[in-house]
Symmetry: C2
Subunit: 457 residues, 2 copies
């Protein structure tokens, strides 16, 4: 059964499984103990650290293992901010960072820190110039930038960020850059003079329970939480040793296959990118078409309930992900799609695991149009009376847009239709619908969105 | 090769291994995803939570999985303190808590909180009355006790603490009690109306990478760090699912064997407790003789370098632990032995894993006297000139005590000998030596310890 949600988590790599089994027997003791079992565990830990550091491109003593990628990000952000408290309390982040970075930023704000989000363009890409300008604007002693964060590649749309350029700009300003490399590390090391790097093993086929945090020498770092003697004091608690051994071994194995596999998956993703808009009416592929992860593609479909589409694909045996509001617990569209200003309804993220076959992708493309059509057919919008105002208050995505599409056909070209909609997704999807259909978005006041009919039927 | 350091970490229980292998195949996906793989992972997680909650004696929705016992303690202490900020900022802990609790307490002090340590007696036991009195002394609104912590049993000497009585006293005062149950949970649930409980899977033969944090309903709790949607927001990061499944399964398995195994190990420990003082001259068994963990016994040997003894036993194939100052990175004796006021030199902790055989214990008892004698023979104290003052400044444990023992024989009964010693362990070991040998400890001024000869040769 094809699993197309690799960006969320991967099955265990065979090398990880083998290493884990061996380390369960050899590496269960406390590596801090001087007895034979402890020394054996310590040797395994040291070897895993060397392997992982080589893949990251840092020194072994710059790398610690954490319980997860999220823990690595939280520890890295908190440690760098604490280490540079006197320089300033401003934290720069891109608007499309992983939630672990944004949640760390919120925690910083709650304790009196300041956060500035660097916006992205419609492809989800940060401008290196804009990032550099934001750095330059904040130089006052005590009010300067304590830390900058930029992901190596976006986890929802696959867009690769200008990390090397931003790292260079940061280095010039003397500001440490933390790179969330969770999505890209299996494909290659992160270039540029970054100061901190975080990653997560289960994203490359390593086991759950292991993250990486690299802190390059010379980076100010202070641990704000309770002290602990393990992992240089940067990641408290007993080391998850067998999983660490498996994580390091599988990272090396994945890297050995990365170039060939990336080329193969990139071709499959290109096929999906090219064919989805042709196969599915009113679909939009999002994310940078060139500077992107090899295995990940995201598209959105007008007039589609994302959750229903997810279930329809799941019923056909395809596991995918979605950034549509109806698939989130908060009923808001993914913050990434919001920051990009693109359509969020009927959103599907396809992320191919290594080994995905040509046939699986063909099967997916063959059944997708039917799945979308089936979901569209099942949505029954309330019959809106023809007229100039649509009351879609209390109705969830994609209903407001579906009603708008129906009603606008009934008014003369040039007429303005007002949609009353309080669903968060409407802010994104009504303008996106206008852009896709050629109608004119005239703006919103509160929950009232104004759209002028431009195109004839 | 006999491994007698169970209290530090245990090899993987066969049931844990089996469950882990199965869950590696079934539980690698993100349990937060709605697709088939995600739902399967969610079912495994829910089932593991039910199993673990039953063993802990709480509701499944009161229990979260953390990356380690240390993480559980840190999250529990921080969350309970943050939840009761308005009540007060005083944290009560026993003086013999695990370092994770004491480090969390230090972090609380660094951010303006107050900590009070409840002392223990010479067996390492907290008095429930003393704990209750400390609670009653702090009732002023805004200055009250935010949280009380008490381990269920001590990890270094095995003494069981009066948790049920203290939990009742806390409940009466409306103060939550956090119980660090890391050492006792495999043997049985913790009785009494505790509010929070922390434990660690690799202490019962579960895998590394899993801790438990239970927070009973009605306990005020606020997460001070970054938000996260997983584990009720109390333990951020991707769930370490295969290890969680293995942890829960092995806890149930260990509990099924606990009563019989406890009786068996208790008899072996009783044998060690009885025979060590007879086999090894100048050895003292520490910890409560009756109210103690079934598998753990600690003793100290006069005139012995703990690190050398550890290595001698390791060379014979026995892995043990030590709280002697020479075996710690800080060159101070274990805080537990210090709080108890007992001898710290030549300290050995024996903690028997389930399945330890009678023959292994007999072998240990057979070789221990020779190992101690060998270490004693290798220590060459500087020949102190006979006289009333011994200059042992700059000399490490056990040298100051060895010199004292030599010199005191040369002075008439009733004479006071002064030992100048700046090793931290001297504060503990010189009075303990007096207690063991019958000489009179007359007190210390700075680095000068005064001992009056009482017994004849």
């Amino acid at each position: 059964m094809p699993y197309f949600d690799a960006a969320s988590s991967l099955p265990l790599h065979p090398v990880a499984r083998q290493a884990l089994l061996a380390a369960l027997d050899e590496g269960w003791a406390d590596p801090g103990r001087p007895h034979r079992e402890g020394r054996r565990a310590r040797m395994l830990l040291d070897a895993a650290r060397e392997t992982a550091a080589e893949a990251v491109g840092c020194r072994p003593d710059e790398l610690v293992f954490t319980p997860s990628g999220t823990a690595a990000v939280h520890a890295g952000v908190a440690g760098a901010l604490a280490g540079r408290r006197r320089t300033g309390r401003l934290l720069l982040v891109s608007a499309v960072e992983h939630s672990s970075v944004l949640h760390a930023a919120e925690a910083h704000e709650r304790t009196g820190g300041a956060v500035r989000q660097i916006p992205v363009d419609r492809t989800g890409r940060v401008s290196a110039e804009e990032y550099a300008a934001a750095l330059a604007e904040s130089r006052a002693p005590g009010e300067g930038v304590a830390l900058a964060c930029l992901q190596s590649a976006n986890h929802e749309v696959g867009t690769v960020q200008p990390v090397a350029e931003t790292a260079a700009a940061c280095a010039e300003e003397g500001v440490p850059l933390l790179v969330d490399a969770a999505q890209s590390l299996p494909w290659g090391p992160v270039e540029g003079p970054w100061a901190l790097l975080a990653a997560s093993a289960h994203k490359w086929g390593g086991p759950a329970g292991v993250g990486l945090l690299a802190v390059r020498k010379g980076t100010r770092f202070a641990v704000p939480g309770p002290a602990d003697e393990r992992e240089s004091g940067r990641s408290p608690g007993f080391e998850n040793l067998p999983a660490i051994v498996a994580a390091a071994a599988s990272l090396r194995a994945v890297r050995a296959e990365a170039e060939a596999e990336a080329a193969r998956l990139r071709a499959l993703v290109d096929r999906i990118r090219a064919r989805v808009p042709a196969l599915v009416p009113d679909a939009e592929v999002v994310g940078d078409p060139v500077r992107r992860l090899p295995h990940l593609v995201t598209f959105s479909c007008l007039y589609v309930d994302g959750e229903a589409l997810l279930h329809a694909l799941d019923a056909e045996g395809f596991a995918v992900s979605s950034g549509s509001s109806c698939t989130s617990s908060t009923l808001t569209p993914s913050h990434v799609l919001r920051a990009m200003g693109v359509l969020s309804e009927g959103n599907v993220r396809v992320s191919l695991p290594p080994g995905t076959s040509d046939a699986d992708v063909e099967r997916f493309l063959a059944l997708l149009p039917g799945a979308v059509a089936g979901v569209r057919a099942h949505i029954e919008p309330a019959a809106s009376p023809p007229g100039h105002t649509i009351d879609a208050l209390g109705k969830l995505c994609p209903l407001p847009v579906i009603e708008l599409a129906k009603v606008i056909k009934t008014v003369p070209v040039g007429t303005v239709v007002t949609v009353l909609a309080d669903d968060e997704a409407a802010k994104l999807d009504i303008p996106a619908w206008c852009e896709m259909t050629g109608h004119a978005y005239e703006g919103a006041e509160g929950s009232a969105f104004r759209v002028r009919r431009v195109t004839p039927e």
